[in-house]
């Protein structure tokens, strides 16, 4: 059964895309991730124009993050003040990111930048996670207690001006680092079609020393609003949000996530991280291969959607 996508302007098999949404939803439910970094490349591999994939995926991330954010909110795991500062940076980053997409599309380098961004970020994060999970698994086996990261040590991040008090996180730090982190995440999110949790969560833990209990909730809070904003910007600036495609992915994703969450409870944390690291590296290598392998055809054509811009 096929359906015609109004913005991507292609006829696709409904069940294929529902299945894709379901598979990514399963993994995101299992690992507790947004899944944008899996979905966007998958959409591009299946022939959706890269810009439409990125714009539409932003909408899907809103759907998949909302329920998580609400659950965290109910458990009082959101530092609203910290979230707002991250959000302010995120909105600026998103604005810059969408403009960057517009510019890159005009000069024909958008696909290249998306691929480079994926290869570098996924590659680095995948390797780090792999090392960390192997370390943790080794420690579990040898019986040594896993090292507990203790907040409280001062690093250069804490010596900046514009200090603010974040009650929920029990922090008194400069507003500049969270603003900057939010901006980088918003920028990458708009260009790569991801929520950016995979950058924000480690950055909050290790750079800002936010207690782990509020990290996930606060980052989800930021992601919901920033990706919502990014979706609207992609719709107005690039006209690359396909609502029909977004709905297909949402339906598949929501169902898949339920099963994934159940599966995830059966695995240990370090095992989950090991598997996730492998997945991340796989995506990174696959995209990297596309950059270095000799293309089947050196030429490509594209229509100029939306006139000059």
């Amino acid at each position: 059964m096929n359906i015609y996508l109004p913005i991507a302007e292609m006829s696709v098999n409904i069940f294929l895309f529902l299945g894709m949404g379901g598979a990514v939803g399963f993994l995101s439910g299992m690992f507790g991730i947004g899944g944008g970094f899996l979905m966007t490349p998958l959409l591009i591999f299946s022939g959706v124009p890269a810009a439409v994939a990125v714009g539409t995926e932003a909408a899907q991330i809103v759907a998949s993050s909302v329920s998580g954010a609400i659950a965290q909110w109910r458990r009082n795991n959101v530092d609203i003040k910290m979230g707002t500062v991250l959000l302010a940076g995120g909105l600026v980053g998103s604005l810059l990111g969408v403009e960057a997409v517009k510019l890159l599309r005009r000069i024909g380098q958008f696909e290249l930048f998306v691929s480079l961004a994926y290869v570098t970020f996924l590659g680095v994060i995948g390797v780090l996670m792999l090392m960390e999970s192997i370390n943790a698994m080794h420690k579990v086996r040898t019986g040594k207690p896993a090292s507990v990261k203790r907040p409280g040590q001062h690093i250069w991040v804490h010596k900046m001006p514009l200090k603010m008090r974040f009650h929920r996180s029990k922090l008194y730090i400069s507003a500049i680092p969270p603003l900057a982190i939010g901006m980088v995440v918003g920028l990458l999110g708009a260009i790569m079609g991801v929520g950016g949790g995979f950058i924000m969560v480690p950055a909050m833990i290790y750079l800002l020393r936010v207690p782990t209990s509020v990290v996930v909730g606060t980052s989800l809070f930021q992601i919901v609003f920033v990706t919502g904003f990014t979706t609207i910007l992609h719709a107005t600036e690039n006209k690359t949000v396909d609502v029909v495609l977004a709905i297909l992915l949402m339906i598949g994703g929501v169902i898949g996530a339920q099963f994934g969450a159940v599966a995830g409870q059966k695995l240990k944390g370090e095992q989950l991280r090991f598997l996730l690291a492998g997945l991340v590296l796989l995506v990174s290598v696959r995209i990297g291969w596309g950059l270095v392998a000799t293309p089947i055809d050196e030429y490509s054509i594209s229509s100029i959607v939306g006139g000059r811009s």
Partner: protein, 315 residues
């Protein structure tokens, strides 16, 4: 602590590496732009438009008096044709459609459908659209778009159907004059086209456009796609793929005898979005802000629904 440092360093490193790669790519692009070649149009511009119907017919009469036909008093042949559907609706369930082009040769002098006195060539041409063609080159191990040409207008769709291979029907001159055949598709580069490309390369770009369009099923040729089913009746069918760009399709029917066009007929198929498809497309392009908010609202609704369902499931 050791680990946290490593992670932070890793992320910073990733940003640095990415910035480095971006700069490298930018440098290469600037370099490519510097190697600008003089602008030369690939084919004679539209200043001397090909003499269409009338001219071709006049020429045909002048150059080649019909030899095997003795009856000078017999009325001259002409062609009439039509399409099976003059308007095609592109809806959510659109998966392509078949268009049948049929017609008749008036005052046909051939005795049977097989006698082969006449040739019919049918061209279906979509709306001319702007199009960018790009070429990748290997830059430091990575394949990057380095050269590009913007074509002012390239037919979005192009199908040629004929009773015989085009080279058997007539000579290249006639084909060129009437824009029949992939080699003669009207393709004009934008004035002062951008990056450094030579005329020979421009030709390669034009060929690549045709090749890629063929791969997408948007440029098709069927050398025996038109059949006579009587001494004057003929028929051809063409399958429009699901990815056919919306807009009018011009259908041109040429009647050939002895390699010369003796009559032409034109028709039009309109491809239009309809129903939900039309509504969503208009919404997205005319009220983009509202459309964006609409999409986000749906997303939030879906998320809330999922969260409510989960709560009920847990209870």
């Amino acid at each position: 602590m050791r680990l946290s440092r490593r992670v932070v360093k890793g992320i910073l490193g990733a940003i640095l590496v990415f910035a480095g790669l971006a700069m490298l790519a930018g440098f290469e692009m600037a370099e490519a732009q510097r190697r600008q070649a003089p602008a030369l149009p690939v084919r004679p511009p539209a200043s001397a438009p090909a003499p269409k119907e009338g001219g071709a017919v006049a020429q045909a009469e002048r150059q080649q008096p019909p030899q095997p036909v003795p009856a000078d008093t017999a009325p001259r042949e002409s062609v009439q044709a039509d399409v099976s559907s003059r308007s095609v609706a592109v809806t959510s369930s659109f998966t392509g459609t078949e268009i049948v082009v049929f017609g008749a040769v008036d005052h046909s002098r051939q005795s049977t459908a097989e006698s082969g006195l006449y040739d019919i060539v049918i061209v279906l041409e979509g709306t001319p659209t702007r199009l960018v063609a790009r070429r990748k080159s290997n830059v430091a191990g990575i394949w990057i778009n380095t050269h590009s040409i913007t074509f002012e207008s390239v037919p979005s769709y192009y199908a040629i159907l004929s009773t015989r291979p085009l080279n058997d029907v007539t000579n290249p001159l006639v084909l060129r004059e009437n824009d029949i055949g992939f080699e003669y598709v009207r393709m004009t580069p934008v004035q002062g086209w951008e990056t450094g490309v030579t005329t020979a390369e421009l030709q390669e770009f034009a060929e690549a456009v045709v090749r890629l369009k063929q791969k997408d099923g948007l440029y098709v040729q069927e050398e025996y796609g038109v059949v006579f089913i009587g001494r004057s009746l003929f028929r051809a069918s063409v399958n429009l793929p699901a990815n056919v760009p919306v807009g009018p399709l011009d259908v041109r029917v040429y009647l050939f005898r002895n390699g010369q066009i003796i009559s032409t007929y034109t028709a039009r198929v309109r491809l239009e979005r309809e129903g939900l498809e039309l509504w969503l497309h208009n919404f997205a392009f005319r009220r983009p802000l509202l459309y964006g908010i609409f999409t986000v609202t749906i997303a939030v609704g879906a998320g809330l629904l999922a969260s409510a369902a989960m709560k009920r499931g847990a209870r």
